[in-house]
């Protein structure tokens, strides 16, 4: 049984060598802070990836004619899009669904021609939050296009300039026309930034002779965990049976793996925190135990049982551990809370004020991260440090348990 005086003595013992206790607390607190800060950043970055995937790029569910994704052939189209979209949009889990066209073209702003990709988009849908044009306020006018900022830099295109586009229609005809560059854009989809010429879906259908046809349909669900069930329901629709329907996890398993690895990274940091905690606590307790041998001997001489000394040491260990975790958690919370609104610009860590976003597998991953914590982050640290504290106390506790009063009092 744990006595109140055991806790009181253990607590006050922490103040006997304040510098040493402070160092142990610091080691644990810094570890816990590192754990929370790293996890916060990791969650924030994973959110960026998830949003980039399920937002502008792939959506929660996407569908296309089998083979299109590998071959990107112009004629592998989804036909009868209007009726298909009506069915899809009628599902209660669907937030929005947009059709897209991707067509390789040559683009000539002046004399020279450059390879580019025309991206035909359902502008009202893509202008919504998480769409490919989520920042766009006004609709595109007739014969107006948007140019990805990297492509614009490469071909030296400017706002208001005319640009000639030459490609191939799905019927084999030459598709060409002259457009006005309405704006240079930075899209969450890297393909748009690198090579994209964005026009309205209707203009693209007309240019490439794709009446009521598109290359793929991208669907966003109301809740992120509805993707699997929605995909399952849509696969059962007769009108969609000829299409390949994939959830985002099925579409890009490599990125899902990357997200899992990011989760494991948190555990790696946790292990490092634990090592720091064990070292800090064990060192403090060993020194404190050996310094107090005489006192332990006296307590045994008075009639204390060895178990009481063991309890005292273990309580000291837990107090140091839990206090350290609380301090570290407060610091970690402070960091995450302080940066959750403004975010952290990881680009500036590279020594630049503004760096371009990171592109990975066609995704444009913003380097501006909004840290966020989950409940387990705190609990994991608390439980782990409490356990580790007990483990760290085993050695000094076993020393105390074996003490003979007279031998101890002679030291």
């Amino acid at each position: 049984m744990l006595h109140w005086s055991t806790i009181r003595i253990a607590w006050r013992n922490l103040g006997r060598n304040r510098k040493r206790t402070a160092l142990a607390l610091l080691a644990i607190a810094v570890g816990q802070f590192a754990l929370l800060a790293a996890n916060g950043m990791m969650h924030g970055y994973a959110d960026n990836i998830r949003l980039a995937i399920t937002g502008p790029m792939i959506g929660h569910v996407q569908m296309y004619t089998p083979g299109w994704r590998d071959e990107q052939a112009m004629d592998l189209v989804v036909t009868g899009v209007s009726s298909k979209l009506s069915i899809i949009r009628a599902d209660p889990a669907v937030m929005n669904a947009g059709a897209r066209i991707y067509a390789p073209v040559l683009a000539a702003p002046e004399h020279d021609a450059f390879a580019a990709v025309v991206v035909g988009l359902d502008i009202p849908v893509e202008s919504q939050e998480y769409g490919m044009l989520s920042n766009m306020k006004e609709p595109l006018g007739l014969k107006e296009v948007l140019i990805g900022y990297r492509l614009a830099r490469r071909i030296k295109a400017e706002r208001g300039q005319k640009i000639a586009i030459v490609g191939q229609g799905t019927d084999g005809s030459i598709a060409n026309d002259l457009y006005t560059i309405r704006d240079i854009i930075k899209s969450p989809a890297d393909i748009v930034n690198q090579a994209g010429i964005v026009m309205s879906l209707a203009e693209a259908q007309q240019l490439f002779v794709m009446p009521d046809s598109v290359h793929n349909i991208v669907i966003r669900t109301k809740e992120s965990d509805q993707a699997d069930e929605l995909a399952e329901r849509l696969r059962k629709q007769a009108i969609l049976s000829s299409l390949k329907i994939l959830t985002w996890k099925e579409a890009i398993p490599e990125v899902v793996q990357l997200l899992n690895v990011m989760d494991y990274t948190g555990y790696i940091v946790l292990v490092l925190v634990m090592i720091a905690a064990v070292a800090g606590i064990a060192n403090t307790l060993m020194m404190s135990t050996f310094e107090r041998m005489h006192e332990f001997g006296m307590l045994l001489a008075l009639g204390s049982r060895p178990g009481r000394l063991v309890g005292m040491i273990m309580v000291e260990a837990i107090l140091i551990g839990v206090l350290g975790v609380i301090i570290g958690s407060l610091l970690g919370f402070g960091f995450v809370l302080g940066t959750s609104q403004s975010g952290v610009n990881m680009a500036s860590w590279g020594g630049q004020g503004e760096m371009e976003d990171l592109a990975y597998m066609g995704l444009n991953l913003p380097l501006h991260v909004y840290p966020r914590l989950e409940g387990d982050d705190i609990v994991a640290g608390l439980v782990a440090v409490a356990l580790v504290s007990l483990i760290a106390s085993l050695w000094p506790a076993s020393v105390a348990a074996r003490l003979e009063p007279m031998e101890a009092m002679r030291t």
Partner: protein
């Protein structure tokens, strides 16, 4: 009627000091009765502390028999010896040995808590501190007290558990004359008023003067055993 509290027969203690053995006690025979105020004297290395340690069950004899408060020490386990110390013995050490992180009152209560005393713990601690004139120091930590005050607190702690026997190892060794006298007067009063048996080792002539019985050890053997009349102190 005399009731023996300590009975030692042919008690010997040999320490193994590497290649050689050191005989600290040699066939000591001794009986200390309830209510006695006994000083064990002798030069350094004569075996005084060893004898007290054996009496307190802090160490075990190499040979001979020893009974303390009706218990054969040799038959007791480590845990039973700890229980005997807790419930029947009080200790006063040369270096005070109070728990530094506890206040005076908490130090006294600590032993009572070990004994399992419940609600009346603080009442009993207060009574003991009142009786020994230590109430004003109740909330101070040991490092805020003088040596003499600390030793008086050590005595308070020793008697708070209402022991039959108090063992004191050189209790005045670190005290000046005035404090030594205060301590001895207090111990003697507890001896007579509460019938607590006191056995203390010393080579301090002031302490010897207070003792009712003086046992002299020389080279681990009882050299003299003198009982004075109570009036003499």
């Amino acid at each position: 009627m005399t009731v023996p509290v300590i009975e030692a027969q042919e008690l010997s203690k040999i320490y193994d000091a590497g290649r050689m053995e050191v005989q600290a006690l040699h066939d000591v025979n001794m009986t200390i009765n309830k209510g006695e105020f006994t000083a064990i004297v002798g030069p350094s290395g004569s075996g005084k502390t060893t004898l007290l340690n054996l009496f307190g069950g802090l160490d075990t004899a190499t040979s001979g028999s020893l009974s303390v408060v009706d218990r054969d020490i040799a038959l007791l386990s480590k845990r039973q010896r700890a229980d005997m110390r807790l419930h029947y013995l009080g200790f006063v050490f040369q270096a005070y040995n109070l728990v530094p992180v506890l206040t005076v009152r908490e130090n006294v209560e600590f032993v009572l808590e070990l004994q399992g005393v419940g609600n009346e713990r603080s009442q009993r601690a207060r009574e003991v501190l009142d009786e020994l004139g230590l109430s004003e120091f109740a909330d101070r930590r040991p490092n805020e007290l003088s040596g003499g005050q600390q030793q008086r607190v050590a005595v308070a702690r020793a008697i708070a558990s209402r022991p039959q026997l108090v063992l004191a190892d050189e209790p005045t060794a670190n005290l000046d004359g005035e404090n030594a006298e205060i301590l001895l007067t207090m111990m003697r009063r507890l001896n007579t008023e509460h019938d607590i048996t006191f056995v203390f080792s010393t080579h301090d002539p002031r302490v010897v003067a207070y003792a009712q019985r003086v046992i002299t050890l020389v080279d681990g053997c009882v050299d003299k055993d003198e009982t004075k009349s109570i009036d003499s102190c």
